[in-house]
């Protein structure tokens, strides 16, 4: 599988990273060289192998469904680049 320049633009859009047009070609080359190296995985027979879901064999812990934290909106917005009255401020999204 090979990544062309259109794919770089599409993936960058999905990743919400603005990529300058002059960098698209370089990025395509870099991604291809990494993906090409990764392709050696196709040599491995994975027939009947379960994909790993947990690296240590433990049961997922559960806790009681009760509130243990919260009610601190000021802490939550403390580091926001723009906030007002404990709300995040963003550019207008609805006309």
């Amino acid at each position: 599988m090979s990544v062309d320049q259109a794919t770089v633009r599409r993936v960058a859009k999905l990743a919400r990273i603005k990529v300058k047009e002059e960098n698209v070609e370089r990025l395509a080359g870099e991604l291809n060289s990494i993906l090409h190296w990764i392709e050696q995985l196709n040599e491995v027979n994975v027939e009947g192998v379960e994909p790993m879901t947990s690296v240590v064999t433990v049961k997922m812990k559960k806790r009681a469904d009760v509130v243990t934290d919260g009610s601190n909106p000021h802490d939550v917005v403390e580091n926001a680049p723009a906030a007002e009255d404990d709300y995040f401020l963003v550019p207008k999204v609805i006309e």
Binding site: M1, V3, T7, V8, V11, A12, L14, A15, R16, I17, K18, V19, L27, E30, L31, S33, I34, L35, W37, I38, Q40, L41, N42, E43, V44, V46, V49, E50, P51, M52, T53, V55, V56, V58, M60, K61, R63, N72, D75, V77, E78, N79, A80, P81, A82, F88, V90, P91, K92, V93
Partner: protein, 488 residues
């Protein structure tokens, strides 16, 4: 009084209890040493006032005989750990100005046990790198230099600031994290000891996430005993991290000095990679010989899927990173670059905030998770991960611990490796351990022909860190310690 910064944690702890000097004196010695070592760029933020206040509190506790296991011990903290009210940016521009309103569980455990915070340590941006060249705050310099050379060398990465600071004696020990080798590789390149414990041994709560199924906290320290002391305090069972495993934390120090007689040491033939340098091969043979002379049994084993661990890692880790790093959107914290609309603002903020290596990994991760490619890349990589783990499970029938080199070479110069894939190969011996969730320790074992430290790695069964400390201490006992000559 001799230089207080030359003392290990074990020695300083003893002297503090006997009141041979105070925690304040010890902290002042480190603050002075840090000021003189700015050229290493190991610290990105120094917190001397906080350190003095914490040392004063430690002195009060020590006076009453109530000191904790790390009472008055000055530590450096990797910038990946959330520290309340103190710069926490994973050395990225995108977290500009971020000061958490909470403390990570691991650092909270350290302060509970009496440790003193000296500051935040440099690292590769979001822990993505093997040379500490991707930090927004500039390269870290390795205190080690080649024989007859003044040229700067990298300390390894991503915990490059931690390794450099420990090797230069500008902290007694440091916290670090390891996703593919980020504790063990820099430890090996600086002549220090680093342990990545079993996945789930340390809480990940409050540590900036890179690849959540691989990330694990651990210490870098001057010797094996200090690493054991640090891990004992860092590890805990944490209700705030569902992957934190419900097992009591043993007293790892008790494992040091135990005999390795009868211990079965596995030598995996697949690690004898083509092109392995003769000095790394000789170091490995020497390490096996030392353990054998102390009564251990050397057993050749096979870990057949070893060569696939690194390429599989470069699917799993970027995939998880692309998801974890989606949270940096210019809304909730850090950098915001204004845009024409909200999407434009996201895209401009992320383009300005993430460095080239981080962008590359996000793009790879987004690609392998995108529609039509998920099964071919991500699911296949997770299947290979199952096979890698199975290799180790089969090995544990024959051996108790596995011995390998820690890195393919000694420290290199900044700019020497510019190709991303070549840089990734630095983790070739360490990454299998993360993929299998196992503990691994790097211990210095010799020097290169240029006089640079080289490390060996020991890999253990899940939650058998104790055996790693036993075997690493047995190597250290013969190899001795490695101290960088002070030139700064």
């Amino acid at each position: 009084m001799s230089d207080l910064t030359s003392l290990t944690i074990a020695k300083a702890r003893e002297s503090l209890r006997k009141k041979e000097f105070s925690a304040t004196e010890l902290t002042e010695a480190y603050i002075t040493a840090i000021e003189k070592a700015h050229i290493l760029n190991a610290y990105i933020v120094e917190t001397p006032d906080k350190a003095r206040a914490m040392a004063k509190a430690s002195d009060a506790k020590l006076a009453k005989g109530e000191g904790g296991p790390l009472e008055g011990i000055p530590l450096g903290i990797k910038d990946l750990y959330a520290t309340k009210g103190v710069h926490t940016q994973a050395c990225s521009h995108i977290l500009d100005g971020f000061k958490p309103t909470y403390e990570s569980t691991v650092t909270e455990n350290l302060w509970r046990d009496g440790a003193v915070m000296l500051g935040k340590l440099n690292m590769d941006e979001f822990a993505m790198g093997s040379s500490n060249e991707t930090s927004y705050y500039g390269n870290v310099i390795n205190p080690w230099r080649r024989k007859n050379s003044n040229a700067a060398l990298v300390p390894g990465g991503s915990s490059g600031g931690s390794a450099s600071a420990v090797a230069a004696h500008i902290c007694a020990a440091a916290t670090a994290t390891d996703t593919g080798g980020s504790i063990r590789q820099p430890a090996a390149l600086t002549g220090t000891v680093g342990i990545k414990p079993t996945y789930g041994r340390c809480s990940r709560w409050g540590i900036v996430a890179f690849a959540s199924s691989l990330d694990q906290a651990g210490p870098i320290a001057r010797d094996v005993r200090d690493a054991a002391i640090m891990l004992k305090s860092m590890a805990s069972v944490d209700p705030k991290d569902t992957t934190s495993v419900d097992l009591p934390v043993p007293d790892y120090e008790k494992a040091i000095g135990k005999s390795v007689k009868g211990l079965r040491i596995g030598i995996p033939k697949e690690y004898r990679a083509d092109g392995m340098s003769s000095e790394i091969e000789a170091l490995w043979d020497k390490g096996a010989q030392w353990l054998k002379e102390q009564g251990a049994e050397i057993v050749e084993i096979s870990l057949p899927h070893t060569k696939y661990a690194l390429p599989a890692y470069y699917i799993v880790a970027p995939a998880e990173a692309s998801s974890n790093l989606a949270r940096y959107d210019g809304v909730r914290y850090g950098l915001r670059v204004p845009g024409d609309d909200i999407v434009d603002m996201y895209e401009k903020s992320r383009a300005a905030g993430f460095g080239p290596e981080v962008q590359r990994r996000i793009l790879i991760g987004t690609y392998v998770l995108s529609a039509g490619y998920y099964d071919a890349y991500y699911v296949r990589a997770q299947k290979i991960r199952t096979l890698i783990k199975r290799d180790f499970e089969q090995a544990w029938d024959k051996v108790d611990v596995v011995l390998t080199p820690a890195t393919p070479s000694a420290a290199f110069a900044p700019g020497e490796i510019s190709d991303p894939v070549q840089m990734y190969l630095n983790d070739i011996f360490t990454v299998t351990v993360n993929m299998a969730g196992l503990p691994g320790i790097a211990v210095p074992a010799g020097v290169s022909k240029d006089g640079l430290p080289l490390g060996l790695q020991l890999i253990g069964k899940a939650f058998d860190e104790g055996t790693l400390f036993t075997a690493a201490a047995a190597i250290e006992q013969v190899a001795g310690g490695y101290q960088a000559p002070k030139w700064w």
